[in-house]
């Protein structure tokens, strides 16, 4: 968990870098003093990586994703996306983003909410209809096309917002706790759907989660963060094969990675070891 670990993981990177952060720092000024949300973050994400971010609440995961998405400006360090600045990448519509909160527009029905990015990016109506149907099926929301957001349960809203981000083709997917409000069965289902999609389309995915098994199951690379100030404490390259049946979760290799993640996570907590 020292800097050298991070350096070694850098060394292993091969494919072209999609996201490259160097000495990235971000400080929020607030009424009663500054909050350092990110400090000296160094990270390279390569094309086709599935990167999970895990870390205690408030450690800067969302902030990091928002910085990649050009929703926050870093206060120090550099960040490039596909060799471009974050702003250029955003203008090139390089990514799809699933926010931590659903952020559905209340004046649009669910299907219209999913249509929103398609309208903006100028998809033909027929294509829009086809994609809406496909992604709504994928997240199991068929039958709720014409409902308004406030008529859905929390988990359904979250699934609608996932469908919205999957409806258009972005090479980079930024997902902030997308499955947080979903039950295990749906989660398993969506996990394997996501893996299939990733495998088929060679997308690069940045995925924030609080579930260690989920992180290990999905990722090629797991980034462990710790708070105050938010920094990267460990980057773990997964040695699991790309093809992953659900029962891989019981293999010793899987459990070993999970244990390493859990250790990293625990190290970032103040009440370390207090309740084991």
């Amino acid at each position: 968990m020292s800097d050298t670990v991070i350096e070694t993981s850098f060394a292993k990177d091969t494919g072209p870098a999609v996201v490259r952060a160097e000495h990235l720092g971000l400080t929020f000024p607030t009424g009663d003093g500054d909050v350092v949300a990110l400090s000296d973050v160094n990270l390279t994400i390569n094309k086709g990586d599935f990167v999970s971010f895990i870390g205690p609440s408030g450690c800067g995961k969302t902030t990091f994703l928002r910085t990649i998405a050009d929703l926050e400006k870093p206060t120090s360090g550099t960040l490039t996306i596909n060799g471009m600045s974050a702003e250029e990448a955003r203008r090139a519509r390089a990514y799809g983003y699933v926010f931590q909160a659903p952020a559905l527009y209340p004046w649009r029905t669910i299907e219209k909410n999913i249509a929103l990015p398609l309208e903006i990016m100028g998809y033909a109506p027929a294509q829009q209809a086809e994609r809406i149907k496909r992604t709504m099926d994928l997240v199991n929301l068929s039958g709720f096309e014409k409902k308004y957001p406030w008529q859905l349960s929390g988990g359904m809203q979250q699934r609608a917002s996932i469908a919205r981000a999957l409806a258009f083709d972005a090479d980079l997917l930024l997902m902030d706790e997308p499955f947080g409000a979903l039950d295990e069965i749906v989660r398993d289902h969506l996990n394997s759907e996501l893996l299939k999609l990733w495998d088929r389309t060679q997308k690069t995915i940045c995925f924030v989660t609080h579930s260690i098994p989920e992180a290990v199951y999905l990722s090629t690379k797991i980034v462990v963060m710790s708070p105050r100030p938010g920094r990267v404490t460990d980057v773990i390259e997964s040695t699991l094969p790309r093809e992953r049946p659900l029962d891989i979760r019981e293999t010793p290799e899987f459990l070993a990675i999970a244990a390493r993640v859990r250790d990293g996570l625990r190290a970032g907590h103040s009440y370390d070891g207090e309740h084991v």
Partner: protein, 369 residues
Amino acid sequence: MRSDLSSLQLYLALVAAGTGLAGLLAGLPTLGAAPLLTAFYALATLSLARLVMPWSLWLDLLLALLGAVALIASLPPGAAMPLHHWLALFSAWALAWLFVERLSAAIRRGRLPETGIGLIIPVLFGLALLVIWEVVTRGANVPPVLLPPPSAIWARLTAEVPLLWADFVQTFIKSVIPGYIIGCLAGLAVAIAVDRSPFLKAGVMPIGNFMSALPIIGIAPIMVMWFGFDWQSKAAVVVAMTFFPMLVNTVAGLNAASAIERDLMTTYAASYWQTLMKLRLPAAGPFIFNALKINSTLALIGAIVAEFFGTPVVGMGFRISTGVGRLAIDLVWAEIAVAAVAGSAFYAGVALVERAVTFWHPSVRGGRA
């Protein structure tokens, strides 16, 4: 005590019955003179029976109406009315209020349908105002040149329909409607333009605030000077009047979208116009409708006021100003009544559209607009 009465309702019931009884006692010496009124006193007193037996809310309505009719029928011509008439007025008013309270409670609990029945309440409120007006002006001998009773206004209204219609066309159809449309569109357009460019916003908003605050009354003679005597100058005043509320509200509304809703648009690298059309305008809807509603009444006032400063000899404002000079106050009020009805209908139309368009807003979803 019957438990379905709230404390306010109970209080009203006691007031109604109490004043009824007092009226009965005060009116005893002249009992035979006004049998209808005596009957009302007796029944109002009897309504106390609601404390021990079921008492339909419709009975309260009937009683209130009886009270109103009895009062108006027994108003002494030319002389101030006796004390107990005031008691009757008070009692009938309390009964009407009680009825309204009970009716709306019944609607809220779903015992009565909203549509149709809900309309009774504002109508009754208006009726009550009219009855009080009639009784007070006639009962207290208010000079008709100060305030005529509604009955006189109604008589004048029905007698002058063609005249009123011509005035309505001149003022409402020719001045208000075009002025309103141009003023609101201009306000909306400027708000969007201003919102688009920080430079314009910094430059236009202070000056816009300044211009908009020009009192209409000062604008009216100038507009008449510039655009002539006919409806064009009135429409110009309406434009000037409706512009500001639209500008202020739209600028506020364009900022109403929440941070995360905007972030979403940013992630799509949506163009300015896409963000405007798909997020900021819908989110601004409630604010824009607020302005449209305020403007629907301002526009009419503006046109009428402008007509005070020179017109062809037709128009609601013209009729009102000359009417006061000629002491044809009943005609003035007839004109005002037309203005009020037209303005309210205009407002109601805008409000209906608002409910349909901003159905998603909590203020509409949770109740009435």
